[in-house]
């Protein structure tokens, strides 16, 4: 028989496998744990190399409600968005999110100034309520995050959660805490492969094992520069599969947060009737943002709207069929 007509890339390396969540046997209390990464091929090219794990979705949950959300979000989340615990349960049980991403916005001095105790309490309560691990994000203000996040890390010691973000200018405090408490860490770089690599080196030089680091390439929303992150991720993946160990970390993409700040996701129908139904438009903005990132190699997506999560979850199952 004639040789099959195909062109298969011979990659000589793989993406790291990151374990999220620790079960009893591993020193934690999680009933459910996840693995991401470990691909030996570009996204969804199963005939080229092993792709053992499906990407997972972490649903955003805020400690304090955001006051500028468009109606498509407030309508669908109105019962829960003042109650983080109910919110988390709804996203996992009803929307089908794999886990939650707790955003500790309220510790920001201008956005509520909640105490470290509050943050610890909420994180621990969430872990009690759900049997999954979670992603924990600070408020984005370096000093506050450096003060609070290590305490949350300590309070959830051994659960192998994912904390973020560390950046080139501020990585030591949180990294040290996560190393000590057995958590994973998000290394954020500003749409720049070289900085991503540099930061991975810095973080691992502190003693963080490489398979506990995940890259946040900093994405833009659909229509707002998403193509930059798309190409940065493709470049990093090609380099990683070709043997660059310091880019061989999985990716986390903050699809929900970006998509819902796009004008197209927010404008009400009366202001843009030619754009169609506003709720659906917002949801699809998040969905297509997420899909583009999946095709660039996203391993964890953080997402916001329950319906968007349902849709992308089904699309991931569809993509993984082979």
């Amino acid at each position: 028989m004639a040789e099959e007509l195909k062109y298969v890339e011979k990659w000589n390396s793989k993406i790291n496998e990151l374990k999220l969540g620790a079960a009893k046997a591993d020193g934690g209390t999680r009933g459910k744990v996840f693995k991401v990464g470990n691909q030996a091929s570009l996204p969804y090219l199963f005939k080229e190399g092993d792709i053992p794990f499906a990407p997972i979705i972490a649903a955003e949950v805020y400690d304090v409600p955001e006051d500028d959300w468009p109606q498509a979000l407030t309508e669908d989340l109105k019962d829960v968005f003042r109650h983080p615990l109910d919110w988390a349960v709804k996203m996992v049980e009803e929307a089908g999110a794999d886990l939650v991403c707790l955003k500790l916005q309220g510790i920001h001095p201008d956005l509520g100034g909640k105490s470290a105790k509050d943050a610890q309490g909420l994180a621990v309560a969430l872990l009690k309520k759900l049997n999954t691990p979670m992603v924990v994000l600070g408020c984005g203000q370096a000093d506050t995050d450096n003060e609070v996040l290590p305490l949350v890390s300590e309070a959830t010691k051994g659960e192998r959660l994912l904390f973020g973000d560390v950046v080139q200018e501020n990585y030591k405090t949180l990294t040290a805490a996560c190393i000590a408490d057995g958590h994973n860490i998000i290394a954020e770089s500003p749409i720049d492969v070289n900085i991503a690599k540099q930061l991975n080196i810095l973080v691992s030089d502190l003693g963080m094992p490489q398979d506990r680091i995940i890259i946040n390439p900093t994405i833009g929303a659909l229509g707002y520069g998403i193509e930059y992150a798309y190409s940065i991720m493709e470049r990093a993946r090609n380099a990683a599969l070709s043997g660059d160990r310091m880019l061989a970390m999985p990716f986390i993409c903050f699809a929900g947060q970006e998509a819902w700040s796009a004008k197209e996701a927010r404008v009400i129908e009366a202001e843009a009737p030619q754009w169609g139904n506003a709720r659906q438009r917002g949801i699809m903005w998040e969905v297509v943002t997420a899909m583009a990132m999946l095709h660039a190699g996203a391993d964890i997506l953080t997402m916001r709207h329950p319906e968007a999560i349902r849709i992308v979850k089904a699309a991931i199952a569809d993509l993984m069929r082979h």
Binding site: Y7, G223, I226, E227, G276, W285, V288
Partner: protein, 445 residues
Amino acid sequence: MALSGLDIYKLLPKTNCKKCGFQTCLAFAMQLAKKAVLIDKCPFVSDDVRATLEEASLAAIRLVQIGTGENKVSTGNETVMFRHEEKFHHPTAIGFLLDDDMGSDKLSIALDEISKLNFERVGQAINVNLIALRQRSGDDGFLKAVSEVKRSSTLGLVLMPATAEALKGALEICAEARPLVYCPKPALLDGFAAVCFRMRLPLAFRAKDMGEFSAQVKRLTQQGLTDIVLDIAEYPVSERLWQLTQARRLAIKKSERSVGFPTMAIVETEDTSQAVCQAAGFIAKYAGIVLLKFRRPEHILPLLTLRQNIFTDPQKPLQVEPNVYPVGAAGAGSPVLVTTNFSLTYYTVLGEIEASRVPSHLICVDTEGMSVLTAWAAEKFTPDHITDTMTRFKLGDIVRHKNLIIPGYVAMMSGDLEEKSGWRIYVGPREASGLPAYLKNLPHE
């Protein structure tokens, strides 16, 4: 594979006789490599060399054109696997699959809905491209529908007849519109190909894998057919992505001419949300044409936006012409803001000023397409640049005050800019989204 200037030089006589109008054979070769001159200028190249050059200059993926006039669709001629390697050239053509048995009322509603799917983003028109009409009824019904589509739409046409007779009838109605002809089953392929060859029309057909595509394409091209589209069948999404990737890779990286044609993916999934997800993947990963069955703007706009993003030239970000632009009914007393000419930045700022409903003037500074922070770091958005732009476009004649709002990210230039321009500087919000609130409570009023 494209040849380099040096590759071409090796094939030239190397006598530097200057007949071609260049000082040296090498100089001529360099221009040939850039396709800036024709090989005919050198009278001394052999037919063999000429053939080699022609073969090398053929695109790895054939450029196929559908339709005529301003709505002409070009697909193919891609040169790379990843946009960061160069760029993607021809945006995926987005079309709509309509069955002819939907009834003429529904057909005209559908055509009307499709005609409204035109949008503008960052100063660019983004539109849908094709209408694919598939025969499900008898020949009469099909031909009637073809006439209706031709009468009411100016988009490119994909004809999907069920028989060779229906194809001939349809072409009598619309051949001059240069439709893409779609062959519905292998048994009809030769008949369809003969018609397409005679009428110089592009032909799309479906095969099960690259091997079968290659074998059929070899047969068809031997019969003289030149314009072909490969329709990747409805396998699980991952298999379709694999085949779309294979066609592109084999053509570009292995110079495999028998699959060097644009590809097409038809999305028939009934669940619209899932269909959108699939289409997004095919736009990102190499489909030249995507046919859809849904047409609500809230589903189409995100896909057209994704296409615009993926097909943006990474080396040449979209830019806006530098100028002072009025936003709303701006007058001599309206506030003045300054930003860069990177389209994304400019249009984001513009959108937020519009949302504020505060008429304003927006100065767009030539930063060579860089965003605020990047341009500042690269010294393309400095007090000098801003002052020059203000003078060049005579801002002093446009407004009667001397207050200028700058982006929060470049607050550090306030003092310097105040000195250079002689204007009072106000530091605006860092993110454009803060503009509506800022403009409604202007500090200098």
